[in-house]
Symmetry: C2
Amino acid sequence: MDDLTEMLKGTLEGCVLEIIGSEETYGYAITRRLNELGFADVIEGTVYTILLRLERGDLVRVTKRPSEKGPPRKFYALNAAGRAELAAFWAKWEYLSSRIDSLRESGK
Amino acid sequence: MDDLTEMLKGTLEGCVLEIIGSEETYGYAITRRLNELGFADVIEGTVYTILLRLERGDLVRVTKRPSEKGPPRKFYALNAAGRAELAAFWAKWEYLSSRIDSLRESGK
DNA sequence: CCCCACTACTCGGTGATACCGTGTAGCAGT
DNA sequence: ACTGCTACACGGTATCACCGAGTAGTGGGG
C-alpha cells in the first residue's frame, strides 16, 4: 500500500490511545504492534512524538521501568482524560466514516 | 460534532474528487454539497485551495462558464489522471478503515 | 575485546494539509 | 445606494506524520 501518511493524520494518535487503553505498554512495543496491525510504514520516531504529545496533554500516566533487553522503558497507561479522549476519537471516527460511506453511495 | 479538521486531512481532497467525478460542477456548489453531506464546517476557502491544487496537479479539466446568479463559474471534471487518483483514494480509504476496525476489534 | 545488532528514547527540522481572514466581483431585490 | 447572496483567489497559521541524527543499554560473533 502506498503512502498513507496524510490520511493517518488525526487517526494515528487515536490508534495509539486505543493500544495504550487496552494494555499498559511502551513506545517501542507500540510501534511493533502498529506495524503488525497493517500500519507497516509507521516508524518509531512518529510514535514517540505522539507519546510525548499525550504526556504533555496530561492524557496518560507514565511509569519508568528497567528492561532486561536494553535501556529502561517508559510504560504508558490512560488516565480519565485519556479515556475521554479515546471515546471522543471513536465518536469522530464513526461520524467521519459514515459520512464518507454515504458520500460514496450517493455518488453512484 | 466537534473539530474534525485533523481527521479530514488526506480524506477531504478525496471527497472533492468523488463529487467532481460524479458530476461536472464548481467550487461553491461543491462546498454546499459537502455541508449537506455532514461535513458541516468545511468552508469555501478550503474547497478552493483543494480545487487549485487539483488543477495544478493536472487531475481535472476546467471550463469557465457564465452564471445567471453572479460571477462566472469554474466547472471541474475529472480527466484520466483524476479518475486514477480517485480510485487510489478509495483503495487507501478501504485499507485504512479495515485496519482501524480490526484494531478496535482486537482491543476488546 | 571490540564491533555490530537490537532495543529504547529524544529532538530539531520538513512537507503536506485544512483552516482563517481578507479582498475582489457580479447580480438581484429593496 | 445598500444589503445579501453568489463566486473565486491568496497570504498566513496550526497541526500532524515523517525524517535524520544523536544518545544509550544489552548481548553475541569474530
